[in-house]
């Protein structure tokens, strides 16, 4: 592998890690507040469809982004209604949302565009364009740092940078604000939060809606940044990889960034090479695809550091006993 290949790999790693990162941070907010969310995939898919569809109709990627986020937040609200208001099973609700998104996107897409569930290809302002960071051209001559800056870091859509900024923002909100402290508390011990006179329901709904917003960004990036339009099932398990990254990251924002970059790199490697030779053994591409899931199982098994979820996760809160 020469230096150029490495640069290209890192470049696509950043691209492919971005949807994972948004979805992973989305799950972080939700699960830190005690609401399990295996519906990240569905919310992302719905957002991808609606952002692409609305962008195709209006010609504006930004209006598409709003529509995508709105769709994702509606699904998040359904999840909140089921798991907070009606104290239903959060996992079952997540499964339902995944199917709802998988079915509705194709059904509505087919009815609107008659392209078998796809949206028309997006061009021009209907897609997010790549930005060139300042001095990218003049710095590109510097060895190592130059290509890293001008080719890996520069030249992405604004959503990639937004995703990178979302990491410190999430860290700040969760660990340096009153809201964040309460949100984490509600995922560990909701009764204590309730006793302090703070609304458990309100906090959990806030977390679930933030989760919807971030999944919306993930989906919009997928359809209007990474590719040019929506195709059936385009999230392709990324919501579950994000969930895996969340566990891998032990529910922490900075770890989430590294986990998503790692899984993004695996994806980039799998896309570029049909098979990879490591220490004389040939790894098939399917192994690379399965690796995020295998790593997550290993982490969950507690052989490499223990992943301990928020204590009240998955438990509906019943006020008076």
């Amino acid at each position: 592998m020469d230096f150029n290949t490495v640069i290209q790999l890192l470049d696509s790693t950043l691209r492919l890690a971005t949807p994972l990162l948004f979805a992973c941070l989305a799950g972080l907010f939700s699960e830190r507040a005690g609401i399990f969310d295996i519906g990240l995939e569905g919310k992302m898919l719905a957002a991808a469809f609606f952002s692409a569809a609305v962008a195709a109709m209006t010609g504006s990627a930004w209006i598409g982004l709003l529509a995508g986020c709105a769709a994702s937040m509606v699904l998040a609200a359904i999840h909140g209604l089921a798991s907070i208001t009606f104290r239903g099973n959060q996992l079952i609700s997540g499964v339902a949302i995944n199917f709802l998104a998988a079915g509705l996107t194709v059904l509505i897409g087919d009815s609107w565009f008659e392209l078998g569930g796809r949206t028309p290809s997006l061009e021009g302002a209907a897609r997010f364009q790549n930005l060139t960071l300042p001095f990218a051209d003049s710095l590109s001559g510097i060895p190592v740092f130059g290509p890293l800056y001008s080719q890996v870091l520069s030249g992405h859509t604004i959503l990639v940078y937004l995703g990178l900024l979302a990491v410190p923002a999430t860290w700040y909100i969760l660990f340096r604000t009153r809201f964040g402290l309460r949100l984490r508390a509600v995922g560990e011990n909701p009764a204590a939060v309730d006793t302090a006179g703070i609304s458990v329901v309100g906090l959990r709904f806030a977390a679930v809606i933030i989760c919807g917003l971030l999944c919306g960004l993930a989906g919009a990036y997928l359809a209007t940044g990474l590719s040019a339009g929506f195709v059936k099932d385009m999230s392709a398990g990324r919501g579950f990889i994000a969930l895996a990254a969340l566990i891998f990251a032990k529910w922490r924002p900075w770890y989430a960034l590294s986990a998503c970059l790692l899984f993004g790199l695996l994806d980039a490697l799998g896309n570029r090479f049909q098979s990879i030779e490591v220490f004389g053994a040939t790894l098939p591409t399917q192994f690379m695809q399965a690796l995020p899931y295998i790593l997550t199982v290993v982490i969950l098994a507690g052989f490499v550091g223990k992943a301990i979820p928020p204590r009240a996760g998955g438990e509906p809160y019943v006020k008076e006993r």
Partner: protein, 363 residues
């Protein structure tokens, strides 16, 4: 004291949930500019209006009985086995290996072997998540989801690199030999009008036997009692000397085995070869079926028939009204899971209140 009579719990509430799911589905159909009543009648006519329709409806239902029972058994121990998809895929591998490794003279000899093979492979795929849950406390929902993806990658790898017919492009095994082919409906129930194309086969009776078997297991054996006790209260079960590790392992092995046996119907009975994605989402339909059927084998059977009707009717619907794509089934399935599983309390609480008020009036 129960707040409402048993019939309300087992029949009225599922009925209201289903009705709500269908009403919302109807609204979705209306929103894309089609007539929901016409769509409904096409679906029902297409699924149960002819022997041809029944041949497919019952074939799909057979798959869903297996996966539905798998989820239901796990539910009794309060385990959510979401990995039916992967377990059934591995069951397919078991069936294929059994069918291809021995020159079976007759299907009656091959069938017991493929049942064991599929159940063993399905159970083995459930065993690792079960062991991790029992011994290491890893959340079984997450591990079984991960194992679905790992299974899918594994099956693609095996079909593309190992099991494919040499020289062929298609990632599938060769057709199984004559001696392994299960009799289709045309040969044992041709007098009912089933044609040669009907995929319904003798695996349907295996599914019925599994229903009975699960009923006996859960309500008539000591193990079933222990599974239910564990599901009701782990602390109480431990106090009564029931080992959680043993119950989790056994329950998940049974659950995985039932999922795996789906392959007897889909791989041996219908496709007669192992193809990529032989399960086609049936593992997930099992969740909806188990929720609808209240984890009771009779309920699972009825819900599986219902979903069989949905799947076959949905195919007919797409044929008759091209504007409504096949994904409508997925939407209905999602709504059924949502209303019967996640939003159950939305219906249950008002109904319970209603019965309480009626009782107070009567007293």
């Amino acid at each position: 004291m129960d707040t409402m009579p048993k019939w309300a719990d087992v029949a009225l509430i599922p009925f209201i949930n289903l009705a709500l799911a269908l009403i919302v589905s109807g609204i979705v159909i209306a929103l894309i500019g089609e007539n929901p009543f016409q769509a409904m009648s096409i679906m029902i006519k297409g699924a149960v209006g002819s022997a041809y329709g029944w041949g497919y409806t019952l074939y799909y239902a057979t798959n869903f009985i297996f996966t539905g029972l798998a989820v239901a058994v796990a539910f009794h121990a309060r385990l959510f086995n979401i990995g039916g998809e992967g377990q059934a895929a591995l069951g397919g591998l078991g069936v294929a290996l059994v069918c291809m490794s021995v020159p079976w003279p007759h299907w009656t000899l091959a069938l017991p072997a493929t049942i064991i093979g599929s159940a063993l492979f399905g159970a083995a795929w459930a065993a690792i998540p079960a062991w991790l849950q029992a011994k290491r406390g890893s959340h079984i929902v997450i591990t079984t989801i991960m194992f679905n993806f790992i299974a899918s990658a594994l099956m693609v790898y095996l079909l593309v690199n190992v099991l494919k017919v040499p020289g062929s492009m298609a990632p599938e095994t060769a057709r199984f030999a004559e001696g392994t082919r299960l009799p289709a409906a045309a040969s044992f129930a041709g007098w009912l009008g089933f044609g040669k194309s009907a995929p319904l086969n003798v695996a349907f009776f295996l599914a019925l036997a599994c229903c009975v078997g699960v009923w006996v297991l859960i309500w008539r054996t000591r193990l079933g009692y222990e599974i239910r006790a564990f599901g009701q209260s782990e602390a109480a079960a431990v106090y009564a000397g029931i080992s959680p590790v043993r119950i989790i392992m056994i329950t998940m092995l049974i659950s995985g085995g039932l999922s795996g046996m789906m392959a007897v119907n889909a791989v041996q009975g219908e496709a007669e070869r192992l193809i990529i994605d032989a399960v086609q989402g049936a593992g997930f339909v099992g969740i909806a079926v188990a929720l609808m059927g209240r984890s009771h084998p009779l309920g699972v059977f009825l819900a599986a028939i219902l979903f069989g009707i949905l799947y076959q009717g949905g195919a007919e619907l797409e044929f008759e009204i091209p504007a409504i794509s096949r994904e409508m089934i997925v939407v209905i399935q999602a709504l059924v899971i949502l209303f019967t599983g996640a939003l159950d309390n939305m219906v249950r609480t008002p109904v319970e209140r209603l019965f309480l008020r009626l009782r107070r009036k009567a007293a």
